[in-house]
């Protein structure tokens, strides 16, 4: 005979404000097999939990129902409480009378009635609960970091520091990410390369860190603590183990007109190239789309001049399979394509550029070796106009809805550095707001205005018109003076919105990690769990989770590493025992369940069975790996014979809940 205890929580006024908890306890107390029912202000508090524990002992309860907030909040808490006094934790059921009742209804009579019904359903379920034991799975003590920008680098260094092995997978020929293209960083005006390259070198030299550059994640299977990842190592046509990075091949290669991605197409590189001087690894790569030898079988100059014999035209893509306990996503961002905003004439004039292009023009490793020159005629610009919020803060049809966060600061930086280096150049910034939330940020922007004389004008730019004389007419609002201004500019810089790297969405599918409509990875909780994905074992680092600047990225990267370390330091993880299992006598071997399982948890085995007529027959039946199964239930729905069922959420239990609700 079952003995069920019911505990109805007030949750302060969260529940009690809309639901008559006393009435609910009374009504549920009259249900079959309920030997104890009460209401209490805060069930999750220590005294609330003690109430449950004491009642289990005193009343010899066989099952517990807590009517409270969502199980996502405190199911673990109540299960622990039950387990501590000897009741199997899976004999505890939660009826959500907060998120599913008190928070969404206003009428107390209706809400109370609904709470009673929800409680009844939970009681019907717990009566059919069976005690379950959580299994264990081992943890592979190795982490994978996808993306080798500052976020990935910082996370990898921190994980390695704790003594764990880390692999970095980076799709470009070198690690470093966007920060390698930045000249100086706000608000300190540190040289980006100077602060980044030591970290890049650390990664290369660290015994615990392995860098897979020019590589991509091909497939991911498994689950937290036990991921199996296939990494595709793209063919460089250069043997990494032999190449010394001397660069001779890049000087001799006859294919000179390949647009240089590092300088955003503003100058050219050769078909064989090293992205920039501080590349890690410092190894040449041949671009198969532009190499004459690879395309037409003619040339071979690089192979001839290479003293290390590192060129290998026969190289193919290779695959590596590795096991990891945790995966970190650090795929970063790109500026959007601003061609869509034709009013700024980006496609019609070479002198309308994006901020990242401006960054390249002022960098010593850039197309003009750091002298700020107009891309069209190489002349010095005497009037520069910066346009803010291009593609940010729009309605969804017109652009990105979010604020890209970094543009106000980097524009102030660009404006300030320009005025410092070229005091004869007038600089205008047309802004809607100036957003400077970080430490020393507002002071930085004020210095641009007060010490360097940058003209900040409140109002947006409506149109940029390239004139016959090569200048640009910038038509803008001055909202403070109520004027429409026409500024004759030599260079116009657009602060383009940033968006997640295009590889992010396919990667999210491979990882079954969730993503929002802007392709930013979603965090488990926006305030309290910002570096973990809701998918166990996947962690987030950097702009892939949301726009942020370098200080925040580094903070988040270290936080992410801390979470990873917390996982890897465990030897075993407890599994969810609410897994699927197949009734072998009913299973007809149709494979439907294996087809729908998103985790690959179901395989088929040949087994010998004793038939009713005393013969034996070998039949093909489903077999569920309880360590991989996440208990989603898709197989139980698909199974045509009803052989597949879910522990803790069996078909009978669900029907019992439905019956209780419909009573």
């Amino acid at each position: 005979m079952q003995r069920i205890g019911v505990f109805v929580c007030h949750c302060g006024t969260n529940i009690a404000g809309t639901v008559d908890t006393k009435a609910v306890a009374e009504a549920l107390g009259r249900e079959q097999c309920v030997v104890f029912a009460t209401d209490y202000t805060y069930m999750c508090s220590e005294s609330g939990q003690n109430l449950i524990k004491d009642t289990i002992k005193n009343e010899k309860l066989t099952g517990v129902v807590v009517c409270s907030c969502s199980p996502r909040m405190h199911e673990t808490t109540f299960r622990k409480a039950a387990a501590s006094v000897g009741l199997n934790p899976y004999m505890v059921e939660i009826a959500n009378i907060r998120e599913q009742c008190s928070w969404i209804h206003k009428d107390k009579v209706e809400a109370t009635e609904k709470a009673i019904i929800l409680g009844r359903a939970a009681i019907a379920k717990v009566l059919l609960n069976t005690p379950l034991t959580a299994g264990e799975s081992p943890v592979v003590k190795r982490a994978l970091v996808i993306g080798g920008g500052i976020a990935g680098i910082q996370t990898a260094l921190d994980i390695a520091e704790a003594g764990f092995e880390v692999d970095i997978v980076e799709k470009k020929p070198t690690i470093g990410g966007k920060m390698t293209q930045i000249d100086k960083t706000f608000p300190t005006l540190d040289c980006a390369a100077c602060i980044l390259t030591p970290k890049m070198v650390d990664c290369a030299q660290n015994e615990k860190i392995k860098i897979y550059s020019y590589s991509e994640v091909d497939s991911v299977s498994g689950f937290v603590g036990n991921f199996t990842v296939k990494i595709k190592r793209k063919a460089r046509f250069v043997d990494e183990t032999k190449c010394t990075g001397c660069g001779l091949c890049t000087e001799k290669c006859p294919m000179k007109n390949v647009p240089n991605e590092f300088n955003l197409g503003m100058d050219n590189r050769r078909a064989i190239y090293i992205p920039f001087a501080q590349a890690v690894p410092k190894v040449a790569t041949i671009d198969p789309d532009h190499c004459n030898m690879l395309k037409n079988g003619k040339c071979g100059v690089c192979s001839k001049v290479c003293t290390a014999g590192a060129i290998d035209y026969k190289q193919t893509d290779t695959f590596v399979e590795e096991k990891y306990g945790a995966i970190v996503v650090a795929t970063g961002f790109n500026p959007i394509d601003v061609s869509k905003y034709g009013e700024y004439a980006y496609d019609q004039s070479k002198d309308v550029i994006t901020s990242l292009e401006f960054e390249r023009l002022t960098n010593a490793a850039g197309p003009t070796s750091g002298t700020l020159l107009r891309p069209s005629d190489g002349k010095h610009p005497h009037t520069i106009v910066f346009v803010q919020c291009v593609g940010s803060r729009c309605t969804p049809e017109r652009g990105k809805q979010y604020c890209s966060k970094i543009c106000c600061m980097y524009t102030a930086k660009h404006a300030m550095l320009t005025r410092e280096k070229y005091p004869d150049t007038e600089v205008y910034v047309f802004y809607i707001d100036v957003r400077t939330p970080g430490k020393n940020f507002d002071e930085f922007y004020r210095r641009a205005v007060e010490d360097y004389g940058v003209h900040y004008i409140k109002g947006a730019v409506g149109k940029v018109s390239p004139q016959a004389d090569g200048t640009l007419d910038v038509q803008a609002s001055d909202l403070i003076m109520n004027e429409q201004l026409h500024i004759k500019a030599d260079l116009v810089v657009l602060a383009a919105a940033i968006e997640p790297d295009k590889s992010a969405r396919p990667l999210a599918t491979k990882l079954t990690a969730s993503m929002d409509t802007n392709d930013f990875f979603t965090e488990a909780h926006p305030k309290l769990r910002p570096v973990e994905s809701p998918t166990a074992g996947i962690f987030l680092s950097g702009v892939c989770q949301g726009p942020k600047d370098i200080p925040e990225t580094v903070s988040q990267a270290s936080a992410c590493a801390a979470k990873v370390i917390g996982l890897l330091v465990k030897d075993k993880l407890t599994c969810n025992p609410c897994v699927a299992h197949s009734n072998e006598m009913m299973c007809n071997g149709c494979s439907q369940c294996a087809n729908v399982c998103p985790y690959g948890a179901i395989t088929y085995v040949e087994k010998e069975f004793r038939m009713p007529d005393r013969t034996t027959k070998v039949r093909r039946v489903a077999s569920v790996n309880p360590a991989v199964c996440q208990g989603c239930g898709a197989c139980t729905v698909t199974c045509p014979s009803g052989a597949m069922d879910l522990f803790g959420f069996s078909n009978n239990q669900i029907m019992a809940e439905v019956d209780a609700i419909c009573k």
Binding site: G342, D347, S465, P466, D473
Partner: protein, 261 residues
């Protein structure tokens, strides 16, 4: 091929050339422009006020007639295109409008926006194709630098008209290339000439059309082409630049070898 044609009032009056050259060039290209029965003036401007129905009825009648005859309506005047296209779009987004209009027009007409409105330029681009057109050109306008003037009505609102890229269009430039000439890109080609303001404020019309024509002239244009009689008037009379302006149908007809009489 027959296609229902909505000329608009101005093409029967001050802009006869625009109409005539349109029909003659279309005939050479294999299209018979069949004028819609009993069409009425579109009004020149689309009233965006959500509660105005009566001003849109002439457009609806034209659309319904065109739909009944050939399934769609072609028009040549920018203003008529803008009014008809926006009116047609309203059926798709505003069921209240659909109901009211049909109440007004019953029992003579029933129309629910299933027809299509296309501009002659779209016909040239999408059905005839500029490559095919090029083959039919007998007197290419070689050496001519022509500035295409779109004005506002052909391009905006772009989400409704979907005529071309509203900031960087190329349909007329592609037409110019097909006719053997060199298109001139200038920043003011999608800015307003002043439009109806010319009636009461000549100074503003001069300012607007002056800015447009100067821009074209600065970029080296020999002359300008347009699809709108009002733009034609403003640029010719008020721009103060002396830049010549013609209807696009006139240069099209000329290139196709149609006699000018």
């Amino acid at each position: 091929m027959k296609i229902s044609y909505y000329p608009g009032c101005t093409l029967k009056n001050k802009a006869r050339d625009l109409d005539r050259y349109a029909r003659e060039s279309a005939a050479v290209l294999g299209y018979e422009f069949e004028e819609i029965e009993n069409w009425q003036c579109c009004g020149g401007a689309y009233t965006s006020s959500k509660d105005e129905i009566a001003t849109k009825l002439p457009s609806v009648r034209a659309l319904a007639n065109g739909y009944k005859s050939t399934g769609r309506v072609v028009t040549v005047c920018s203003a008529c295109y803008n009014v008809l296209a926006q009116t047609n779009h309203e059926f798709a987004v505003n069921p209240d409008f659909d109901m009211r209009v049909n109440n007004y027009l019953a029992p003579d007409f029933e129309y629910h926006g299933d027809g299509k409105v296309i501009h002659y330029l779209e016909l040239l681009r999408d059905e005839i194709g500029f490559d095919e057109l090029k083959k039919k050109v007998v007197k290419p306008l070689t050496g001519k630098k022509i500035a295409a003037y779109y004005g506002c009505l052909l391009l905006r609102p772009s989400t409704v008209l979907k005529f071309d890229d509203p900031e960087n269009p190329e349909i007329m430039e592609n037409l110019i290339r097909a006719l053997g000439a060199e298109p001139v890109i200038y920043p003011m080609r999608n800015e307003c000439c002043g439009g109806y303001i010319t009636l009461e404020d000549t100074a503003q019309a001069q300012k607007r059309s002056g800015a447009v024509a100067s821009s074209a002239k600065d970029m080296g244009a020999d002359f300008m082409i347009t699809a709108c009689p009002l733009c034609m008037y403003n640029i010719k009379k008020h721009s103060g630049t002396g830049l010549e302006i013609k209807y696009f149908t006139e240069v099209l007809a000329e290139a196709l070898g149609i006699e000018n009489n």
